[in-house]
Amino acid sequence: MTGQAVIELEDVWAGYESDRVLEAVNFRMEAGDYVGLIGPNGGGKTTLIKVILGLIKPERGVGRVMGVSPEKGRHFIGYVPQIQQNDKEFPIKVWDVVSMGRLKTNPLSNLFLSETDKAVIERSLRQMDILDLAKRSINELSGGQRQRVTIARALATEPKILLLDEPTSSVDSRSSSQMYDLLAELNRTISILLISHDLTAISTYVKTIGCVNRRLVYNGQKEITNEMLSSAYECPVDLVAHGIPHRVLPPHQEGDDHD
């Protein structure tokens, strides 16, 4: 626990109007980490992302990104949102989507792409192995290809942290495993925070796992502990349903030999 903190949340309480979604959340992620956070739908995953990105202010507690407030630090985050069905209809080419990663804060300075911008966009496309799709319109792409475009856009921001929201929601299992291989490779230089309700996918690839369900349980370990089971018991339901309990449950856990 001596590395540089890239994301810190200290006693964060957050929600919408009368509906509190997150309570007493403490979280610390360090450079080089690859954290997977799982949780049921409605468990506060989206709210957690919004707090980290500075899109909503917590009622209580503070968040920090790269040591500063989320609003100041969020440009270090390469954000990979969940793919929405309606942006499929938006008429835009892959190159133009990825070039959004090069947007400057002053809108007037976004008139032209510099040579550096173009080189970074090309590198990001190549990293995700979609350079040949650059001139294609995004509505001609498959779910897996579109997910790669979204990750390439995040990489074009030259991020310190990649933040992925349900990255496999619209991807078939083969391209999702390819995507996780790519992420493991990216993790050599970039810290990754992956948030999903799909434990099966996450557990195989990430270095450490946490659980969000109103509260966040995260000990910087790969295994799901009893504490997580009791505080967010919807997680192990997912876990048993996917039939791979041995991978993530600690060995001393009793009564899981049904497999």
């Binding site: 969020r74 954000y79 008429p91 947007l103």
Partner: protein
């Protein structure tokens, strides 16, 4: 007598030439701004701005000012008001936009009825009066077109980004709210000049039909904007000539030409997709 001759005679009239110039200018503004309106799914908001402008027209009438001035003022104010509502309360913004839409109309109707005297040309703001376009109208249109072109060209990538993915743009620290409000003011100005051509009731059609038609065939925002301008010109020129030949109200004929063309294009596209595999 040939077709060319007839067209020559048509445009030997000053009012017909002005009508054509007005259509061409408004076609540029509507093509650029209409594409943004369609892609941002704020057609209803555009309609709201147009109708709220009537409040300004009524007030200007009552106080003996130029109605266009009132329309500009009200459309900008309502654009900013609706924009703030839209940015703050995503969920119910359509309700509040509907309310502002009606308030504008109500103010307009009340002040028009309070104004004594002859006011026949008030109808022209509702249904357009393309054949009555003056030199001053053309100058106002030219100013708006220059502003709209500068806005779209200078901010193209930022506008594309906020239209495509507002959250990502916010995370990149683009001033999303400011860009959004400026875009709405540009919509307001475009609506005002388009009112001259087709009237405030049909402004929505002028903003949406050319981009919707272009979007059937093009999957790129820049291409959509350029083709929308071309289509706007085509619809207006054809509509104008048909209305002259048949002695019908110009704005309405333009909208019908546009709508029929859209339906035709959608049919042609269906056919192409059907025949392809």
């Amino acid at each position: 007598m040939t077709m060319i001759n007839q067209i020559q005679i048509m445009f030997s009239y000053d009012f017909m030439r002005n009508a054509l110039y007005a259509s061409l200018l408004v076609g540029v503004a509507c093509g650029l701004i209409g594409t943004l309106v369609v892609l941002n799914r704020i057609v209803f908001l555009g309609g709201g701005i147009a109708h709220a402008a009537y409040g300004g027209i009524g007030l200007a009438y009552y106080f003996g000012q130029d109605p266009m001035l009132g329309a500009i003022l009200f459309s900008i104010l309502s654009a900013l008001g609706m924009g703030l509502v839209h940015l703050r309360t995503k969920a119910r913004s359509d309700t509040l936009i509907g309310v502002m839409w009606s308030i504008g109309m109500a103010i307009g109707i009340i002040f028009v009825s309070l104004t004594p005297g002859f006011k026949a040309d008030l109808m022209s703001y509702l249904f357009g009066s393309l054949l009555a376009v003056s030199g001053a109208d053309l100058r106002l249109m030219a100013v708006v077109v220059v502003l709209v072109i500068a806005f779209v060209v200078l901010l193209y990538r930022s506008l594309q980004a906020i239209s495509f993915d507002e959250t990502f743009s916010t995370v990149r620290n683009l001033p999303v709210a400011v860009l959004y409000l400026v875009m709405l003011v540009m919509i307001g100005l475009t609506v005002v000049v388009a009112i001259r051509v087709v009237g405030l009731i049909m402004v929505i059609a002028m903003l949406t039909i050319p981009p919707a038609t272009a979007n059937l065939f093009l999957k790129d925002m820049k291409g959509m904007m350029l083709l929308s301008i071309g289509l706007g010109w085509l619809f207006s020129a054809v509509g104008l000539m048909v209305s002259f030949a048949l002695n019908l109200q110009a704005g309405s004929v333009i909208i019908l030409v546009a709508s029929l063309s859209y339906l035709l294009a959608a049919g042609v596209k269906k056919l192409i997709v059907h025949l392809k595999p």
